[in-house]
C-alpha cells in the first residue's frame, strides 16, 4: 500500500480534483456528504511515538484515520518473536477489523510516527458502515490492499536479505512520514523486521557506504530515493502498484 512516489510533494500542492481537507486520503475518497458526516463523528487526537493503540486480543474501542501519524501492525508469537506485517499512514485506516465484525484486535498497533489522527468510536463506526454502502465499498478495496501487503510480507521476510528489506522499509516509512528524514533507533528497526540488531547495523552501513542514506544517532536521512528503490527488493514497487490499482 505504498503510496505513489510523488506523495511527499503532494502534501504541499494538493492533487487536482481531490482536495484533502482532512489529510487522510481514504476519507478524501468519499463523496463529500459522507465524508463530512464521518468527520463530524470523529475527534482529532495526537498520537505519541511508541503508543500502543491495540493489543492482541484486546478490545478495539476506536478506529483511526491518520492525518499525519503512522502506525505499525505487528504480528507476534511471543514477546521475543515479532514482525511488522503492515504500515498504516494517511493513505489508510486502523481498525478495518471492526468492519469484519470483530471486537478484538488480532494484530498489535503501535504508533511508529507521532502526529495527528481522526478517531471514531468502534460503535459509531459500525453504525456508519450500516448507513453508507459507499464507505463499505471503499474499505473493502482498502482491505484488499492490506491483505496484499500482508501476504507479501510473509514471502518477503522469507526470501529477501536484510539490506533489501531495510531499504523497502525505509521507503515505506518515508512515504508515510512525508519526509526524507525521520528518527529511528536500530533497535526499533531490528524489532520491526524481526532480525538481530547486528544485522541492521551491517545493512545500514552498507546503504550508507553507497550514499543512499545517512544514519547518525538515530536520525535517518534518505539521500537518494531512486537509488534506495533500486536497493530495495521488488516488494516496494509491487506494493505501490497494488495500492494505486486498487484505490484509484
Amino acid at each position: 500500500m505504498d503510496q505513489p512516489r510523488h506523495r511527499a510533494k503532494d502534501r504541499h500542492s494538493a492533487p487536482a480534483g481531490a482536495p484533502t481537507p482532512t489529510g487522510n486520503l481514504l476519507l478524501a475518497g468519499l463523496p463529500s456528504g459522507e465524508r463530512q458526516r464521518i468527520i463530524a463523528r470523529c475527534e482529532p487526537v495526537q498520537l505519541e511515538l511508541g503508543e500502543v493503540l491495540y493489543e492482541i486480543g484486546g478490545r478495539v474501542r476506536h478506529v483511526y484515520f491518520p492525518t499525519s501519524s503512522f502506525i505499525s501492525l505487528i504480528s507476534s508469537t511471543d514477546r521475543n518473536s515479532r514482525l511488522e506485517v503492515g504500515l498504516v499512514g494517511t493513505e489508510g485506516m486502523l481498525g478495518v477489523s471492526v468492519m469484519l465484525g470483530l471486537e478484538t484486535a488480532t494484530l498489535e498497533a503501535l504508533v511508529q510516527g507521532a502526529g495527528t489522527a481522526l478517531r471514531m468510536s468502534a460503535a459509531h463506526f459500525s453504525l456508519e458502515l450500516k448507513r453508507s454502502p459507499v464507505l463499505v465499498k471503499l474499505l473493502n478495496r482498502y482491505l484488499h490492499v492490506l491483505m496484499s501487503q500482508l501476504s507479501q510480507m510473509a514471502a518477503c521476510t522469507r526470501f529477501h536479505i536484510v539490506e533489501e528489506r531495510l531499504a523497502r522499509w525505509l521507503l515505506m516509512t518515508r512515504d508515510r512520514a512525508h519526509s526524507n528524514e525521520f528518527r529511528l533507533t536500530q533497535e526499533f528497526i531490528a524489532f520491526m523486521l524481526g532480525v538481530r540488531r547486528a544485522g541492521i547495523t551491517r545493512a545500514a552501513t552498507a546503504l550508507q557506504k553507497r550514499k543512499l542514506i545517512r544514519y547518525t544517532r538515530g536520525n535517518v536521512t534518505i539521500l537518494n530515493g531512486r537509488g534506495l528503490e533500486a536497493a530495495s527488493c521488488a516488494c516496494y514497487a509491487a506494493a505501490t502498484q497494488v495500492y494505486t490499482q486498487s484505490m484509484q
Partner: protein, 247 residues
C-alpha cells in the same frame, strides 16, 4: 473423496441463511480438482470462486524471481478468491491444489452481486477474511522466527484439519515449495518426525500416527490460527465415515 459431496459440507456455504442459499446454491457447480492444478496465477483476473469440500488449496505469494511461499491454506473452512469480492478483481497470489478433491465453483459475477447486497453473505465472507488475515500474519512471523521442524508440524496440522483422513498425498518437493525452504530441510524435518514415530512417509503418502505429539512439536502458530478460524467460521469436521482423528 466420495462423490461430489454437498454444498453444506463447506462451512461458508453452510452458514448462509435460507434466502441466500436459495439464490446461490442453484448456481454452484461441482468440480474435481487434481493435485497441483493452478486455479489462478498472481495477476490473473478472477472469474470464479471455489468452495472446497474435501480438497485443499494453497495460496502462494510469488516473488519476481519465481520463489514462492505459502501464505495460507484453504479447505472446507473457506473460499478461494476473496480478492474478488473486495473489489480487487485481480489477485496477488497463486492458488494451487495441494490435495485433490471436490470443490463447488461459482462465477465471480454471481458472488459479487450477492456480496454487494451488503447482507449476511457479506458478513460471513468478511469474517472469513479476518481468519485469513490472522493466518497470513501468523505465517509471516512464523517464517521469520520458527524452525523448519516446527513449521512442518504446523503445516501438516493445518492441512490435516482440512482433510477427512489422517493421510496426505504429498511430495517433499511440494512441501519445500509451500514452506519456501530447501528440499533437504524438509527431508531432515520429515526424517525426525518419522524417527519419533509421529508420521510415516512412503511413496508420496504421509500418514500421521500420533497427532497429539505432532501438536506438541509444532510452534504455537498452529493453535493461534486454528482458534481464530474456529471462532470466525463455524468449526465443523467433515462428516466422513471412518474419520480417524476428530478435529
Amino acid at each position: 473423496m466420495a462423490g461430489i459431496g454437498f454444498p453444506q459440507q463447506n462451512n461458508i456455504l453452510d452458514a448462509l441463511p435460507q434466502a441466500e442459499r436459495e439464490r446461490i446454491y442453484p448456481h454452484l457447480k461441482p468440480v474435481t480438482l487434481p493435485l497441483g492444478k493452478v486455479l489462478y496465477e498472481s495477476g490473473d483476473l478472477l472469474r470464479h470462486v471455489y468452495f472446497p469440500i474435501d480438497c485443499i488449496v494453497s495460496l502462494l505469494y510469488v516473488l519476481e524471481n519465481g520463489a514462492s511461499a505459502e501464505i495460507c491454506v484453504v479447505g472446507n473452512d473457506g473460499v478461494i478468491g476473496v480478492a474478488l469480492f473486495m473489489g480487487g478483481e485481480t489477485t496477488t497470489s497463486r492458488a494451487i491444489v495441494q490435495s485433490a478433491g471436490v470443490a463447488y465453483r461459482l462465477t465471480g459475477r454471481r458472488l459479487k452481486q450477492e456480496f454487494e447486497r451488503q447482507g449476511e453473505t457479506m458478513h460471513i465472507l468478511l469474517r472469513y477474511t479476518q481468519a485469513l488475515i490472522t493466518q497470513m500474519a501468523q505465517t509471516a512471523v512464523c517464517n521469520r522466527h520458527h524452525t523448519v521442524d516446527q513449521q512442518l508440524a504446523r503445516w501438516l496440522l493445518l492441512s490435516l484439519d482440512r482433510l477427512p483422513a489422517n493421510k496426505l498425498a504429498m511430495t517433499q518437493e511440494l512441501i519445500a515449495n509451500m514452506l519456501g525452504v530447501r528440499r533437504e530441510g524438509v527431508t531432515d524435518a520429515a526424517g525426525k518426525l518419522q524417527r519419533l514415530g509421529v508420521i510415516t512417509y512412503s511413496r508420496g503418502l504421509i500418514t500421521v500416527l500420533d497427532r497429539p505429539r505432532l501438536e506438541q512439536l509444532s510452534c504455537e502458530c498452529y493453535s493461534v490460527v486454528k482458534k481464530e478460524t474456529d471462532r470466525l467460521t463455524r468449526a465443523r469436521a467433515i462428516a466422513v465415515p471412518g474419520q480417524q482423528f476428530p478435529t
